[in-house]
Amino acid sequence: MAAPDADSRHEVAGDRTPLLRIRGLGVRFQDFEAIRPLDLDVLNGEFLTVLGPSGSGKTTLLRTIAGFQQPTAGRIEFDGRDIADLPINRRPFNTVFQDYALFPHMTVRENVAFGLRVRGIARATRDARVEDALGIVELEDLGNRYPTQLSGGQQQRTALARAMICEPRLILLDEPLAALDATLRRQMQKFLKVVQRQSGITFVFVTHDQSEAITVSDRICVMRSGRIEQIGTPRDLYYRPRSRFVAAFFGASNILEPCRIESTGEAVTMVSTPFGTMSVDGPLPQVREGLALAVRPEALVPASGDACNRIGCEVVSVSFVGSETITELRHPQTRHVLTMKTRSNPSARHPAVGSHLEVGFDAAACALVTGAQE
């Protein structure tokens, strides 16, 4: 059921091999299944985000990889080696915690040096490497401060430097930006991405914020109720969700349902919807029950001559919200309401409320989805 998605893996794999290979991993607390047996490959050098609402099992998955949580089923391989029996302190990767977990009685420098200190690295080497790490996270001047003397972003960067000091090939990040305000969070997203690119360290990043996931990730793994719902690039998940849940998680969608497959061609599939027959290109879902067609509001445009999917609608309302203009449309036969989002244009005339408007969307800008939304 939760087999890794062959398509999305193919897209990014190339010559990259999985650094972390998870097979049939399950975690059960008494009668609650936090993680239902799942497979996941984390590729060498990628920025993989595990995204899901609270209670979806994403943090449990991360804690299981780190070794804080014992799996009840399955295996975890790091670089081809089973690490199930490896104690936490001997796992070859490090964690950045949600509350940073900086040692309050140590300075920034001592915090960062900790990993080297417990490994018995000589002081001279240690100092040099700590300075390097502080340089990467731009904290050279604050090395002698205590964690309570730092701002949230500085604490976050200290935690990152501390996790990087032993040069792990993999770093696990558990919602590291959750405690920061919006502006700082955006800065840190960029910063994390840059550090990840330059260091080449594989990042597994847990978040519940879909826009954050889209911004930073090479690939996103969407989790829901302990299962992997879909894995793919941010673009994949946004434009080609395979379930109503994923479609809704990445923002509003027009859901055209019920929907039935009429014919499958080489590239294009014809589906019948209450709005007429539409063409979709892209992969077909395995499940054929309860199909719907999801179209992003910004994929809908006033139809020009060559749009292959067209719907005739009545304009219900037009609202100008700055950079965008949102038009609510009603399909006269079914009374379905559609939302269209277009870029505002100072010289464009808005369609009059009540007027007829032909809208269309591209076969590549929609996706067939299944499953329940919640």
Binding site: Q98, Y146, Q149
Partner: protein
């Protein structure tokens, strides 16, 4: 608030009365250690340190004081070790029944009437063939004061983020390194406060000690014994010395606390800017 002299005046009078009745006896003891007293009046011409000199000649009292200090230090050291281990154990598995049981076992001697603790220990030591002395008193006091240190240490451990231990292990620290570098440094203040409190409790514990002391009496037991046969003004000198010692200790602790609070406040302010 409206100030009303009809309320303020009686309140002030009550306050003065309370303070006088609290401190006058102490003041009296202090004065009597230097001066002699006739018919309820202090004779100011009789200043002398002779009671202090007598105190130091009196081997029984000096020995008892030494015993008290020795038992207190040993009991605090033993209780701190035991209570810290227990607190870490309970903290690492808070949902286990065994942890609950351990917590209960630690608190029981503190909650039981001392007479029961003392008597049971006495019977136990007699049956086990252990002679009464410093060792038996220390065991009794350790049992009694462990609960205090345990509570203070556990409170601090609970305030520490559980992630700290995980972070240390994640960075490669063994259990022993985690304890040494992460847990212990954060327990300095609670161990100091808990230790002082436990020492004070041990110092004036009488009931359990009464059952467990053989010839090596501690100070309260010795004083109690002396009261029965008669009163000597050396006791005034002794109490004055103890009073001075406690005041010094209290001030020292207060200073350490204030320095800690100051640096915390300072770092908070600097963190803001």
């Amino acid at each position: 608030m409206m100030r009303n002299r009809f309320i303020d005046l009686p309140l002030a009078a009550v306050a003065v009365l309370v303070y006088v009745s609290l401190y006058l006896p102490i003041l009296l003891v202090f004065l009597l250690s230097f001066f002699s007293m006739r018919r309820g009046k202090v004779n100011w011409d009789t200043f002398s340190l002779s009671w202090y000199a007598k105190l130091f000649e009196n081997d029984a009292l000096g020995g008892a004081l030494w015993n008290s200090l020795l038992v207190g230090s040993l009991a605090v050291a033993a209780a701190a070790t035991f209570a810290t281990s227990a607190a870490i154990l309970v903290r690492s598995r808070p949902d286990r029944h065994s942890a609950r049981l351990l917590e209960y076992v630690i608190f029981l001697p503190f909650l039981l009437p001392p007479i029961i603790t003392g008597l049971s220990l006495l019977i136990y030591f007699r049956e086990a063939g252990v002679g009464r002395g410093i060792f038996t008193i220390t065991v009794g006091h350790t049992l009694f004061v462990s609960a205090i240190i345990y509570r203070i240490v556990l409170t601090r451990l609970n305030a520490l983020s559980r992630n700290l231990v995980e972070a240390a292990q994640d960075l490669g620290a063994t259990r022993i390194q985690t304890f040494r570098f992460i847990i212990l440094p954060n327990l300095r203040m609670p161990l100091l406060t808990g230790g002082l409190l436990a020492f004070a409790l041990s110092f004036d514990e009488t009931m359990i000690t009464l059952f467990l002391s053989g010839t090596d009496a501690t100070l309260p037991v010795r004083l109690y014994a002396m009261m029965r046969v008669g009163f000597t003004p050396t006791i005034n000198a002794l109490i004055t010395l103890l009073l001075g010692f406690s005041i010094l200790l209290t001030v020292a602790v207060a200073l350490v606390w204030r320095r800690n609070a100051d640096s915390a406040r300072k770092s908070y302010r600097e963190g803001r800017t």
